[in-house]
Structures are given as structure tokens and as C-alpha cells.
């Protein structure tokens, strides 16, 4: 019965149409469709498709952002009902994001936040020019799985290292994973400062975050076994 509706949901995300996506979410609720199913069989399929299309160069950043905005619009409608039913879409993980101290360039960081958030991560965005202490405090406060530090300028890349050192000093790593990004950042730099990962763009960042979460989960399970 709902197949055409799920199809329309997917399409609204691929088209990057927030109003349409919200309307379809309303319709799903009115028809008594399980909101979690609306996400998993409808909207989330669309965002995955958009990500794949971006990956192979068929969709571009403005398309991808529009898809993410449409996803947000749909989730906003569905969320209260999911909460009511106790069928909350479980967050893939908690990520604290910000740009390194002294760096006010946030276009890349915002892209990453949008894509990760649309894909099911819970994002805590600290904004621009964030000190290592602020990263540490937020990571502790929300019990973050991943901390992401962005730096565009070669002169502020040192700030990424400072955050990783602060996480280490406060005993948050290796439990909390540290990832970095930015125009001048390379895998070499990531390795040099001991980051757990780096990605070149927002879609790769999504893959990176998912892979790291697998490690986080495995670690938790292992710890669980050891304790038991």
C-alpha cells in the first residue's frame, strides 16, 4: 500500500525538496505509517542515493545540501511521533564539531555537519575558532564518540594537533575518536598528529565516521565481555 508513498519520499530527498518531504511526512503520519519505517524505507534511502550520486560525480554540493535540508524537514515532522512511540531513530553516534582556534572558515565544517546529521548522527556544532578546552568540555558533557576539528588555513592546522593533545591529556582517547579535515589537511598530517582519521570531503567524512563507529561499538562490546 505504502510503496508509492515511500517512493515519493525517496524522490523528495533526491530532488532536494524540503516542503515536499515535510508534506509526505505529514501524510505518512495521517495514514498511520510507522515513522521509523518512513525514514528507513523512504527518506533515508533517498539520502543514501544522493550520497552515492555525489560520490560518482552525478550530483554536486548544492544538490547534496538540498537533499540534506529535505531530510531535516522530514525528520522534524516525524520526530515527535517517533518519541511518542519510543521508536526513536537511534543516533549512529555523537559527534562534536568545530573549526580550530583562530580559524573562522566554516564552510567545510558546516557541510560535514549537515551530511552527518542528515545521515543519522547527532551533531554538536561548536562553531568557529574553538579552543581545545571547549572541545574537551563538550565531548565530556555529551559523552561524544567522535570529535571533528576543521582547519582551512595552514597557520591554524596546528590547532588540530592541540585538540588531539587536549583529548589525550584528559584521558578521553582512545575511547573518543578524533578526526580532522580542511583544504590543506593531508593523510600525512593526520598521521603526524595522531588523528584517528581524515577525509577529503563531506561524503568521505560520513564513511569515515561510520567506520570509526564500528570500532567504537566493537570496543564497547569487547569491554563488555571483559567485564562480564
Amino acid at each position: 500500500m505504502s510503496d508509492p508513498l515511500f517512493q515519493a519520499m525517496r524522490q523528495s530527498i533526491i530532488d532536494g525538496a524540503p516542503e515536499k518531504a515535510a508534506e509526505l511526512a505529514q501524510q505518512a503520519l495521517a495514514n498511520g505509517v510507522d515513522p521509523l519505517e518512513a525514514v528507513n524505507r523512504g527518506f533515508a534511502v533517498g539520502i543514501k542515493f544522493a550520497g552515492d550520486q555525489f560520490g560518482c560525480g552525478e550530483m554536486f554540493l548544492p544538490d547534496l545540501l538540498a537533499s540534506a535540508e529535505a531530510m531535516k524537514a522530514a525528520i522534524k515532522i516525524l520526530e515527535p511521533e517517533m518519541l511518542k512511540r519510543g521508536s526513536e531513530r537511534e543516533a549512529l553516534g555523537k559527534i562534536v564539531l568545530g573549526t580550530a582556534r583562530g580559524d573562522i572558515h566554516d564552510i567545510g565544517k558546516n557541510l560535514v555537519a549537515t551530511i552527518l546529521s542528515a545521515s543519522g548522527f547527532q551533531i554538536f556544532d561548536l562553531g568557529t575558532s574553538v579552543t581545545p578546552e571547549q572541545f574537551v568540555a563538550k565531548a565530556k558533557e555529551v559523552d561524544a564518540d567522535i570529535v571533528g576539528v576543521s582547519a582551512l588555513l595552514t597557520t591554524t592546522m596546528a590547532g588540530q594537533k592541540a585538540v588531539i593533545e587536549a583529548l589525550d591529556r584528559n584521558g578521553l582517547r582512545p575511547r573518543v575518536k578524533a578526526i580532522i579535515g580542511g583544504a590543506a589537511v593531508t593523510s600525512k598530517w593526520a598521521a603526524e598528529i595522531g588523528a584517528d582519521g581524515y577525509s577529503r570531503n563531506a561524503i568521505d567524512a560520513l564513511e569515515l565516521a561510520k567506520n570509526l563507529m564500528r570500532k567504537v561499538m566493537n570496543k564497547d562490546m569487547n569491554t563488555g565481555t571483559a567485564l562480564a
Binding site: 555525489f54 560525480g57 554536486f60 554540493l61 548544492p62 573562522i104 572558515h105 564552510i107 567545510g108 557541510l111 595552514t154 597557520t155 596546528a158 583544504a183 590543506a184 593531508t186 577529503r200 570531503n201 563531506a202
Partner: protein, 502 residues
């Protein structure tokens, strides 16, 4: 210009469109206004500008009459001088100069073809090669020396360049404190702060942050440069579609607003102090989120932005001759040569960017010598087709005839190679490339790749290079300033200063 000679040039904007761009740029300066650093709030207030009155958000609204008044006090042109005190770079009119790109953090190793962190020895090599290439009117502080303390990275780069070059320098500082030390260094080189003001050796790039934001650091730099009378080059860098309107015309408008705001701050602090309508505008790559410096639209943005500056009668600057390729390959050659041509035809006074790979992330000295050939070709093109002849006294004079006088001597023999005119004029008519450009007939040897020829050319230029001999007392002053700044920064950070030798 001689009568009857048409100098080639390209215009992308009609006078009507330039008018619209400026009208909207002035509108932007009022709404949404420009965010400014606290360093300039008092200055703006004393000029009658209210800064962030309602929201205390640091946003200034700059009225057109004030901006126009500041434009009027900015000089139409100025010179940069070499160490010998000669006028070397003319910022103004349609004069075109080139300098290498600046502030790279990585260097392409010609052996392994891998990018690695740049060091002092790399900067020295770039300076040595640039010194021997007439295509470059100025040096730049091309790469960051990762072996020097990063806190004085800006000062240290200039210190290295000044020791190794007599040419003018395009540079920039990383912090407000850094600028002070750099100006001291230049004053020591010139003899005094007053001499530096009269005959500036360097120009400083100062960058707003798009959109419409003059950060604390940028604002501060503008003030300090204006007060010291050291030329400031405002390098606005809108990314069309990312940090600026997606349309090229929209980005040129934002660029104009950012530079107008910068000139206003600068001229309020030091009326008449030299300032350049500069930029590094680019499109925003919709796949990677990067700034493709080799894109033709990026070149178009640079040309159009300079056109607006020329319309206002100001000296201009742009960022071209760079590539997005990671290797010194066909893409690098095509993109860099194309934008060198376009920049020269646009009459941009200073064109930075040669030697740069990977959208400004990596420097290659081999690419620099290849770019020098593209630049020479662009310079040749910009000179246009000149009408000249050669009379019997051997003077270069305008000829009565283009060809008939020469035919009168050769008849139908075809022996032009023997003509006095040929020998006297071929060096002016033709640009004679270095061996980097292969025009040889195929021989027994296998053909060589341009990278190999570029490596030989680099080696040759380095071997011919002679380090300038600076007076002992100047060198001592240099060292004292660097030591002072290193100690100050180390003291601030609580670590020991450790300077590499160069």
C-alpha cells in the same frame, strides 16, 4: 604608445556593468554592512560611522560619500624599489608584472614527485631561481619554512628572502605582532623607516574573510601598514557559489565591496598611503568544495575584479598562473599558461601565483621555470604587433614601409637571414625561450620531457646565482630583529627559540 599601434587587451565588463557592480557594492556596504575588528572601531567612529550600535555585533555601515572620499585619497600609482634604489615595479596604469605564488606549505619533490613540507632550503632555492628570471619583477615569500618556529614564520620568510635577493618582495604577515617585526626588518634593509616609506621595497597582502568581514587581524594589519606608509595589497577572495554569490558578476560585486571597505579603513588611518585593488577570487568547486585556481572562470573573476579597480583608477593585483594539478604535467602547463595570457591582456599590475600546484597547496620550482616561459610568451603577446624598421645608421626607428624596403634589397632571392634588419630586429620581434621549451629537430637522443629540461634549468639558474653582499651592520640588525621576535614569541609560548641556519 606609438601612433598606429594597437595594444592587445581584453575587457569582460561593459562600462554599464561596471557601474551596476559599483552601485550594488556601495549598497552592500550599507546593508548588510561590513563586519570589522575592534581595532578600527574608534577610527570609524571618529569618521562618523556607527559600528554595531543596535546589536553590538561589530558591523559597520559605510556610507558612499565616506568611501568615495577615501578612494580619492588613495594614490593612483606607486613604485616598488629594488635594493639598489631603482624603480622596479610600477603599480598603476596597464603595466603588468609577475611574482611567484606565496605562502605554500608544501614542496613538490622533483625526484619522488611527492609533496613534502617545505623548509628553509626550499625557499632559498625558489629565491635563487626567481632572482635569475627577468620574467619575475618581484620575489614573494613563496613557502612557509616548516623548520623554523611557526610563531615567527612570517617574519622568518621575509628574513630569508631579504638576505638572498635584491628584488622587491610581495609578502604578508600571519599576525599583528608579526607585521611589526617585518616592517622593522624592511626598515633595517632600507636604512630607516622614513626611507622605507619613501622607497618601499615590499608590498603586504592583507585579506578580508569572505563574505564582507574584516577580521581583527586583517583590520589591524591595514591600520599598521597605512600608518607605516608601507604599501598594502588588499587580497579579497570570494569563492563564487561557496562564500560569495554563484554568479561571476555577483562575486565581482562582493569583491568590490570588500576592497572598498578595506581601502576605507586603510585611508582613514593613513590618507595617501599606497594601497592595491587586489584579489584571489575563484569559483567554488561544486564537487570538491575547493577553490580551483586553474579554472577559466577563476581567471575571468580576476580579470573582471581588476577591471573594476582600473575603472576607479587604482593599482591592481590578481592571482593567476596557478594550477589544480598535483604534478607538473599537461594540465599544469595548460592552466597556468592560459591564465598568464589572460592576466597580461587584462593589464593587471601584479600577477601572483607562478610555481603553484594543487590549488595553491604545493610549490614546484620546476613549474616556476616552466611558468616563466608562459609568462614571457604572455608578455610578448601583450606588447602586440609593433611597426618598426631599421635604417642604415642602425637606429631602431618607425619605418616608412613594412616590407617593401627589405624586398628592395633581397628581390626574389629570399635571403632575409642576411639582412641587417633581421639581425637588428629579431630579438625584439621574437621571444627567445630558454631550453625549457623544446623546438629542436628530432635527433638520435630520445626526446626529453619538459620536467627534465626544467630540472636542468633550475640547476643552471642556481649555479649562476650570486648572493647579494649585504653590509655587516644590516645583517646584524636583521639577526637582532629575528632573535628579538623569536625570543618574544618563545617567551609567550614558554618554549625555547630554535632557529635553523640558512
Amino acid at each position: 604608445m606609438r601612433p598606429g599601434i594597437q595594444l592587445p587587451s581584453i575587457q569582460l565588463l561593459s562600462p554599464g556593468l561596471i557601474g551596476r557592480i559599483l552601485r550594488e557594492a556601495f549598497e552592500l556596504l550599507m546593508s548588510p554592512g561590513v563586519r570589522v575588528g575592534s581595532a578600527v572601531v574608534e577610527l570609524l567612529q571618529s569618521a562618523g560611522v556607527e559600528v554595531g550600535v543596535a546589536a553590538n555585533d561589530g558591523v559597520a555601515r559605510l556610507p558612499e560619500p565616506l568611501v568615495r572620499q577615501c578612494l580619492a585619497s588613495a594614490p593612483r600609482d606607486f613604485y616598488l624599489y629594488n635594493r639598489q634604489g631603482e624603480k622596479t615595479v610600477h603599480y598603476g596604469g596597464d603595466d603588468v608584472h609577475f611574482d611567484p605564488g606565496s605562502c605554500c606549505v608544501q614542496m613538490l619533490d622533483p625526484g619522488t614527485l611527492e609533496a613534502r613540507l617545505s623548509e628553509t632550503r626550499d625557499l632559498v632555492r625558489i629565491v635563487q631561481v626567481t632572482e635569475g628570471l627577468p620574467q619575475f619583477a618581484a620575489q614573494s615569500t613563496a613557502v612557509v619554512c616548516n623548520d623554523a618556529p611557526s610563531a615567527i614564520g612570517d617574519l622568518y620568510r621575509l628574513f630569508v628572502v631579504l638576505q638572498h635577493s635584491d628584488k622587491p618582495v610581495v609578502t604578508g604577515s600571519f599576525s599583528a605582532a608579526g607585521l611589526e617585526g617585518m616592517i622593522d626588518l624592511l626598515a633595517a634593509d632600507s636604512g630607516s623607516a622614513e626611507k622605507l616609506r619613501q622607497q618601499p621595497r615590499a608590498v603586504f597582502d592583507v585579506c578580508p574573510s569572505p563574505p564582507l568581514n574584516w577580521s581583527e587581524f586583517g583590520s589591524h594589519n591595514l591600520l599598521d601598514l597605512a600608518r607605516a606608509g608601507v604599501p598594502a595589497e588588499i587580497v579579497s577572495m570570494p569563492l563564487a557559489g561557496g562564500t560569495a554569490p554563484v554568479t561571476l558578476a555577483g562575486s565581482v560585486t562582493q569583491h568590490a565591496a570588500e576592497v572598498l571597505a578595506g581601502i576605507t579603513l586603510h585611508q582613514l588611518a593613513g590618507p595617501g598611503s599606497p594601497v592595491v585593488w587586489g584579489g584571489a577570487p575563484a569559483i567554488f568547486d561544486m564537487r570538491t568544495g575547493g577553490a580551483p585556481m586553474g579554472a577559466v572562470e577563476t581567471a575571468m573573476l580576476n580579470m573582471a575584479c581588476a577591471e573594476v579597480g582600473k575603472h576607479l583608477g587604482l593599482p591592481t593585483h590578481g592571482y593567476l598562473v596557478a594550477t589544480d594539478s598535483k604534478l607538473v604535467d599537461a594540465q599544469a602547463g595548460a592552466e597556468s599558461a592560459r591564465s598568464a595570457m589572460l592576466g597580461a591582456l587584462a593589464g593587471i599590475n601584479m600577477i601572483s601565483g607562478a610555481g603553484m600546484l594543487e590549488s595553491l597547496a604545493c610549490f614546484s620550482v620546476e613549474k616556476l621555470v616552466i611558468d616563466a616561459e608562459s609568462i614571457a610568451s604572455a608578455q610578448r603577446l601583450a606588447r602586440g604587433i609593433e611597426v618598426r624598421g631599421h635604417d642604415v645608421r642602425g637606429d631602431d626607428v618607425c619605418s616608412e614601409t613594412l616590407a617593401t624596403a627589405m624586398f628592395a634589397q633581397t628581390g626574389l632571392s629570399g635571403e632575409f637571414l642576411k639582412l641587417k634588419e633581421t639581425r637588428a630586429l629579431f630579438r625584439q620581434e621574437q621571444y627567445l625561450p630558454s631550453p625549457v621549451i623544446d623546438r629542436s629537430a628530432r635527433g638520435a637522443e630520445p626526446p626529453s620531457d619538459v620536467c627534465r629540461r626544467a630540472r636542468s634549468r633550475v640547476d643552471e639558474l642556481v649555479s649562476k646565482y650570486r648572493k647579494p653582499s649585504l653590509p655587516e651592520d644590516v645583517l646584524r640588525k636583521f639577526q637582532a630583529i629575528v632573535d628579538r621576535e623569536a625570543a618574544r614569541e618563545a617567551n609567550r609560548a614558554g618554549v625555547a627559540a630554535d632557529l635553523p641556519r640558512n
